[in-house]
């Protein structure tokens, strides 16, 4: 295990050092004193493990394919931007556009995530998966084309009234979604989502894939999530293969 002291280190130097060590065959790196440095592990491939202490800067793990990144802290905007494979575990919260256009790999966020999370997610051979322990802001899964988003809401109380907003996501939830699936704990009133998206209710016990993602999340965080087994989740999927085929078709 190699330790890099990152305090005050400009991001270019930091990332050059990471790439140099990985090229030299180092398979475990420990980045200490990180504060806002951008592009950590961006474009990195291979089986290397990175442990980050501090607040990781924008675009952590962007376009990476393979590494396992563990962040003991929060991540700023754009974590896992367009990533293809590997895993990002965040023990704190994530900023805006986490998992933006990711096409493979997994992101686990213990706390909350920001706005526009998981927009335009896709899937290649391996499914892209994004699990959020807390809640997300507006535009969750906008234009989603593949992969899975799970929102657990471990720290939120869900409202009892049927028409009250589900607090685990904001406005424009899944708008423009045409692939993939979103599991959100609790029920979602009709007004919170647009047409072209259909909802169904499930519980993890009866949904093996959802159960798998929750177990993996619990494992990475060292948490006991067994209480979620019988909790109601809303499952959002697009209506049909081409839900927007007639969106701009006014001839009828």
């Amino acid at each position: 295990m190699k330790i890099i002291a990152c305090q005050g280190l400009p991001y270019r130097e930091l990332n050059r050092e990471v790439r140099r060590l990985v090229a030299a065959g180092e398979d475990r790196l420990w980045l200490r004193g990180v504060n806002g440095q951008r592009y950590i592990a961006a474009g990195l491939t291979g089986r290397v493990q990175l442990r980050i202490e501090g607040t990781a800067g924008n675009n952590l793990g962007a376009m990476m394919d393979g590494p396992a990144v563990y962040v003991d802290g929060n991540v700023q905007d754009g974590a896992g931007n367009t990533m293809s494979g590997g895993e990002i575990v965040v023990r704190g919260s994530a900023g805006d556009i986490a998992g933006y256009a990711m096409r493979g790999g997994r992101i686990f966020i213990q706390g909350d995530a920001g706005w526009r999370v998981g927009i335009h997610m896709k899937s290649r051979e391996e499914q892209a998966v994004l699990v959020i322990g807390g809640k997300a802001g507006d535009f969750l899964g906008e234009y989603m084309a593949g992969g899975t988003i799970v929102v657990l809401g471990l720290y939120q109380t869900l409202p009892r009234e049927a028409e009250a907003a589900n607090p685990l996501a904001g406005n424009y939830l899944a708008s423009g979604m045409h692939g993939g699936v979103i599991y959100l704990r609790g029920r979602i009133p009709a007004w919170q989502i647009r047409g072209q998206v259909q909802t169904s209710l499930t519980i993890p016990e009866e949904s093996p894939r959802l159960q798998t993602w929750i177990e993996q999340f619990a494992d990475r965080m060292g948490l006991d999530c067994s209480a979620l087994r019988r909790e109601t989740f809303t499952c959002l999927t697009p209506q049909g293969a081409r839900p927007y085929a007639h969106l701009y078709d006014h001839s009828a």
């Binding site: 991001y11 504060n35 806002g36 951008r38 501090g54 607040t55 800067g57 924008n58 929060n74 700023q76 905007d77 900023g95 805006d96 920001g114 706005w115 526009r116 802001g137 507006d138 904001g170 406005n171 007004w191």
Partner: protein, 351 residues
Amino acid sequence: CAVAGFLSKAGKRVSGRTIAEMMTVMHDRSNGLGAGYAVYGLYPEYRQAYAFHLILADGRTWAEVEKILRQNFKICEQQEIPVRRTGRYKKAPLLWCYFCEPLRLDREKDSDELLLATVMGINRLAPRASVMSCGQDLGVFKGVGYPEEIAEFYRLDQYRGYSWIGHGRFPTNTPGWWGGAHPFSIGEIAVVHNGELSSYGTNKSVLENYGYELSLRTDTEVMAYAIHYLRRQNLSWSMVAKVLAPPHWAEVERMTALERELYTVLRRTYGGLLMNGPFSIIVGFPGGLMALNDRLKLRSLVAGVSGADLYVASEEAAIRQVCPRPEEVWPLPAGEALICRAGEASACHVA
């Protein structure tokens, strides 16, 4: 761009080193074409005086500006703003400070109008002259450069204030020049802004009806004037925020009848001051700060608290640079203002 703000709710005056450090860690968000700072609680010994901070191209402009100033104000004291003219700043413009009193003191209501007429008169000479700030007990220091360069140039560590805002510019649509750097300040408010205001044209034509002239060739100018105008209309800070970033009509429809009426009337009255486009702003005012995102949250803004200190910045890293273990750090939601005042024992509230 990068924005940052600091407020000591206890009213403790701190040096400019803190805000400069916050800005420096966000270096890569700027491109060296503009930076600046505003500080409140700067001139406690001249608290009653209007402190005009001016950017002047040459001696001739200086004389012209002084003439404009003397039409409405008595100059009590004046000085060159002390700077370090080294490196790229050997040819920096003349930076001058006047402490003034309004000539017609009997009409209290008129001081705002005197100030407005004077500032517009001076800014009409732009780019030869522009007003950085003109308020009481506050000052703006800005220019072309990176935030750390501007902090060094103006010797920011020599000043103290209970509240600071800072900006690092990355101009995309308008020129990077001394008067175009942030903060933009008029009267008692100062604003730093990250983003772009696509409603500039509409906002400008509305503001021109109220005596504002847009001379500084940068979209943020409308934000400063809109806030100044709305405050002169006696709107609370919460209401100012709801004019700049109003709720969407779909949200208004789900509100209670009373709220629906309020937001409909606000929109009907001040719709021309709605700010469209991506923005995050931090506004300084005497005794407090307001931070606000556009209603779709197209720019980032993070807040943190530690004891009586409030921090706001484009990036969490800026907060942790000066306060490694804040009690709480949170992102500001879309269109919901964070309004915080010094001397308030309670925690900052979200409007």
